[in-house]
């Protein structure tokens, strides 16, 4: 807030304040005259005491002084200025109306309708009041900003109809893009851009400041038309994710309360198989609350949904999440080198690691191993098996195509090596799948030596996540006397080194192929080349492989997350020639080109990319932009605009008018007080 003076030199007239003071001090011969018989005493009084005068009639003096000050101040023309004014608008020859049709504008306003309805109504009324010669354009902010009118038009009834036809979207706010389109419509010729928006969402308005600056530089003027509910409140699902936990895991739902009061909301989780779990969630005002929903031990994979009940803004009352198939995961273990004794066999260790309490107990533990000789690959069921362990198989050639197809469609193949493996035959058969071609078996330590230790893995990888809770150091105890070496390779998006031996020797490599993955274990899965099966990390690592790698989401080849209103692309295998997107309420408009399906989801919920004759290519969990759920006001558009063009957004209070009125009032007071004084003197 600043104070400015129109005529600052006039303040020098404040010296006139001395006039009433002197007038009250200067000796005025009193009217009261008295005979006095003790003049001798007065002559004895000190001269200065005889002349001393007390200020008479202080009230009159104050009124006179104020009168002089008020007159001087009114002449100096002071003005008080502070930011935040809505400038006058409607006088330009070209006007662009920007209407915020984002999700937050669906908030119920004070007049019963939504904020968007109010914006439509006010914008239409504004257009109807414009002169016929005024050119008008309309732009929307929802999702990616778009034009309603192709350009500036003078057909006001048409513009009004188009404004009335604007529908609510569940999209986010592209205020920056909308102002850019408006600026382009004005084409640098100047004009006004009226923005009807709720200003909701943290950072939305600030992000547009550069565009507002450009608009101002091009002689344009931004006029904020804020649409607010008097007491905005909203409950929204901020996120829903599946994670590990008791039973079949937990779905963690985060609910945000963007209102001023604490609320208890009913929340309902609906799993892909139709099972529903309900709970009430207490959400403090302005904060978030997390609620864990326990998933049954057996559940169908797919896209689940969470629902809450909130009337203020309904679009964010639902969220979707990916849920893996919960329950027994069938693993095919192919034994390539049955030993003479049980402990000399890979199957011995793997079976106990996958099903510690027997095969049937695997139903409860989540892993159901099928043991087979290499010929057992013929029994590989792509619908049933999710993981294939090929342990020390001499020649996978006969089943190579079957394995490649299995991986391409989303299966996981784990190859462990050993003395039985021949590099040439394996390379030849599985060249497409191997992360790197095999070279030869190499000794790392002499017999009797402890062997070379394993490097601790990165626990951020889901495969090693269980070791976050402890036991990670156990990897250092895995020592190797011998491993298979591979051809040099570099880690990239397709090939990664998950585990290595001290000295940079790869131990576990991963390659993505098609919709599946291949893991190459350069050591033996039994105790032939090292002590791996005898270490404490063996069983949890094998279990983690089975759980992490052996799951799928509703049988879809890939899973993906997307936001309502944002363009989304899903890559599909090259063999696919036709694909479409299915949303919660039917087929969604999409395009298919360059090996990818592209679409813009317009509603929250599970979406699937489908191709005739094939299982779902992708499952897409679509949610709304939670930024839109925050209906609280952050930075006002007026404030941001004022920082760019401060003069237009200044409130001005002409104080001199008040000073003038005060001076007039004081004239009356001075006259009244003067008369009272005269009467007093006369009495």
């Amino acid at each position: 807030m600043t104070l400015s003076w129109g005529t600052p030199l006039a303040l020098g007239l404040l010296g006139m304040l001395a006039i009433p003071l002197l007038a009250h001090l200067i000796r005025r011969r009193p009217d009261d005259q008295r005979a006095y018989g003790a003049m001798l005493l007065l002559q004895r009084l000190p001269r200065k005491v005889r002349r001393r005068r007390r200020i008479e009639d202080r009230l009159l003096l104050a009124a006179r002084s104020l009168l002089v000050a008020a007159v001087v101040v009114s002449v100096a023309r002071p003005q008080l200025q502070w930011p935040g004014a809505i400038p006058e608008f409607g006088g330009a020859e070209a006007i662009v109306i920007v209407i915020d049709d984002s999700m937050s504008m669906a908030l119920q306003g004070d007049t019963g309708g939504t904020l968007l309805a109010r914006a439509r109504r006010e914008a239409s009324a504004f257009v109807s009041a414009l002169p016929e010669s005024t050119a008008v354009g309309v732009v929307l902010t929802g999702g990616t900003a778009s034009k309603v009118t192709a350009g500036l038009v003078s057909n006001h009834p048409l513009v009004q109809r188009q404004i009335s036809g604007i529908v609510q979207t569940p999209f986010s706010t592209d205020l920056t893009g909308a102002i850019r389109l408006a600026r382009q419509m004005l084409a640098g010729e100047g004009g006004e851009v009226l923005v009807y928006t709720d200003e909701a969402g943290e950072g939305v308005v600030e992000a547009a400041s550069a565009e507002i600056d450009l608009l101002t530089q091009q002689s344009g003027a931004l006029v904020p038309r804020p649409m607010h509910a008097s007491d905005p409140a909203n409950i929204a699902i901020k996120s829903a994710t599946y994670g590990s936990g008791p039973e079949g895991g937990t779905v963690t739902v985060t609910i945000a309360n963007f209102g001023p009061e604490a609320r208890e909301v009913p929340a309902r989780v609906k799993l892909p198989d139709g099972v529903e779990i309900t709970a009430f969630v207490e959400v403090p005002a302005g904060e978030e609350a997390r609620k864990d929903f326990t998933v049954p031990r057996v559940a169908e994979g797919g896209i689940g949904s969470v629902f809450i009940e909130d009337e203020m803004l309904t679009a964010d009352n639902v969220a979707s999440f990916h849920l893996p198939t919960i329950g027994a995961s069938r693993v095919l273990v192919v034994e390539g080198d049955p030993g003479l004794t049980p402990v000399a066999s890979e199957v011995y260790y793997l079976e106990r690691a996958l099903a510690p309490w027997g095969r049937l107990s695997g139903m409860g533990s989540g892993v159901l191993p099928d043991m087979a000789a290499p010929s057992g690959v013929d029994s590989l069921d792509a619908e049933a098996h999710r993981l294939v362990f090929m342990a020390n198989v001499a020649d996978p050639g006969p089943w190579a195509n079957r394995l490649i197809e299995f991986v391409d469609r989303g299966g996981v193949l784990v190859l462990s090596l050993g003395d039985n493996v021949a590099a040439e035959r394996t390379n030849a058969a599985l060249a497409q799948l191997l992360p790197s071609p095999l070279r030869r078996a190499r000794s790392l330590a002499a017999p009797g030596e402890p062997g070379r230790p394993t490097v601790l893995p990165d626990t951020t990888d889901p495969l090693f996540a269980p070791f976050n809770r402890g036991g990670l150091g156990g990897f250092a105890n895995i020592r190797w006397h011998r491993v298979f070496t591979v051809e040099p390779y570099t880690d990239d998006d397709d090939v990664r080194t998950l585990l290595s031996i001290e000295g940079g020797i790869p131990l576990l490599l991963e390659r993505r192929f098609g919709s599946g993955r291949v893991l190459l274990f350069t050591g033996t899965i039994d105790a032939d080349w090292g002590n791996f099966p005898l270490q404490s990390v063996y069983m949890p690592l094998i279990q983690s492989m089975a759980r992490t790698l052996g799951v799928s989401s509703s049988g879809a080849a890939q899973t993906k997350n997307a936001v309502v209103g944002e363009p989304t692309a899903v890559d599909v295998p090259a063999s696919v020639s036709e694909a479409q997107v299915e949303g919660p309420n039917g087929i969604v408009e999409s395009t298919f080109s360059d090996g990818a399906v592209r679409f813009t989801p317009i509603e929250a919920g599970g979406h699937r990319v489908l191709s005739p004759g094939l299982p779902p290519l992708a499952a897409v969990a679509v949610n709304v932009d939670v930024t839109e759920s925050d209906v609280r006001r952050y930075t006002s558009l007026a404030k941001t605009s004022a920082s760019v063009d401060p003069e237009r957004f200044m409130n001005t209070a002409p104080l001199y008018r008040y000073a003038l009125w005060l001076a007039l009032a004081l004239v009356g007071a001075v006259v009244a007080l003067g008369r009272r004084r005269e009467r007093s003197h006369a009495g």
Binding site: R27, R34, A35, Y36, G37, M39, L41, L42, P46, V49
Partner: protein, 296 residues
């Protein structure tokens, strides 16, 4: 018809008071006064009517039996003490809380007290004289003390109006030259002239053994500047005026009055004169009684 400015009730109250000299006056042998010399040759001179305070043993019972009147035998040995009342009737005495000829003006109060004294002393048989300084009117300003002067004194007091200047210095010098030794002078004045000016003139009175008593008449409102608003104060004597704000000078005025009284008492004390303040709003009998007894 002139108004007799004395109060009969007041006179009646003070009638019982005795005239006492602060110092022993030789001629005052009767009553409570002690003469410095005893008379040995007592010769009858005349009778006088009894007055309260006269010694009973001097009552002439034979005459009383014949005439039913109490008379006192007076003898040659008794000294006659002339009393001169000096009244200040200058212009300053004309101010006060009411018209000058009323009791609540300074002159009114002064005249009333002078008349009361004259009547009382006359009834006591003391020769009373009157000297008026300043003033205006048709009266005899100088009446020497005598046995039958009361009518003239009363007449003069009833006629006097405040005017002119007192000139206390020359007045006291004149009185001092005219008064016999061991007489009494009672001055009724506002003493509004510099004590340093008129004070030395009292030396003549003192040197002649004259017992001088000052009744100092004043208006408390004048001394305290008890006025509500700024006022122009002017002197009735010379017309000098001064505009002032009483509220601003009131505090300093108190100090001035105190200093002035100190000067007055100092001068009077030097010449063994008694001083009696007489506010025009206070009871006069107490002041007159104190003045008669010579107690300051």
């Amino acid at each position: 018809m002139s108004i007799v400015p004395w109060d009969a009730d007041l006179l009646d109250r003070i009638e019982r008071l005795h005239l006492k000299a602060r110092r022993a006056v030789e001629g005052w042998r009767h009553g409570g006064h002690v003469s410095r010399s005893l008379a040995t040759n007592i010769e009858f001179v005349d009778h006088k009517e009894y007055a309260p305070g006269d010694p009973i043993r001097h009552v002439d019972w034979k005459v009383a039996a014949r005439t039913d009147k109490l008379v006192i035998r007076r003898h040659q040995a008794e000294t006659i003490v002339p009393v001169l009342i000096v009244l200040d009737a200058s212009g300053d005495l004309g101010t006060g809380q009411g018209p000058p000829d009323l009791e609540r003006s300074k002159l009114g109060a002064a005249v009333t007290m002078a008349a009361t004294l004259a009547v009382f002393l006359s009834k006591r048989g003391d020769p009373v004289g009157l000297s008026i300084v300043g003033g205006d009117g048709t009266f005899d300003a100088q009446i020497p003390p005598g046995p039958r002067t009361l009518p003239a004194v009363i007449r003069a007091l009833a006629s006097v109006r405040s005017a002119g200047v007192a000139q206390l210095k020359s007045a006291f010098e004149r009185v001092g030259e005219s008064m016999p030794r061991r007489s009494v002078v009672i001055v009724v004045s506002d003493l509004m002239e510099e004590p340093a000016v008129w004070g030395p003139s009292l030396g003549v009175l003192a040197s002649r053994g004259v017992d001088c008593r000052f009744i100092h008449v004043y208006d408390p409102d004048e001394w305290s500047l008890n006025y509500d608003s700024p006022v122009v104060l002017f002197s009735p004597e010379d017309g000098a005026s001064l505009a002032m704000d009483p509220s601003a000078a009131r505090s300093a005025m108190g100090d001035v009055v105190e200093e002035y009284l100190h000067d007055v008492r100092s001068v009077l004390g030097q010449h063994r004169c008694s001083h009696h303040l007489a506010s025009i709003g206070a009871r006069m009998d107490e002041v007159i009684a104190a003045a008669l007894m010579g107690r300051s």
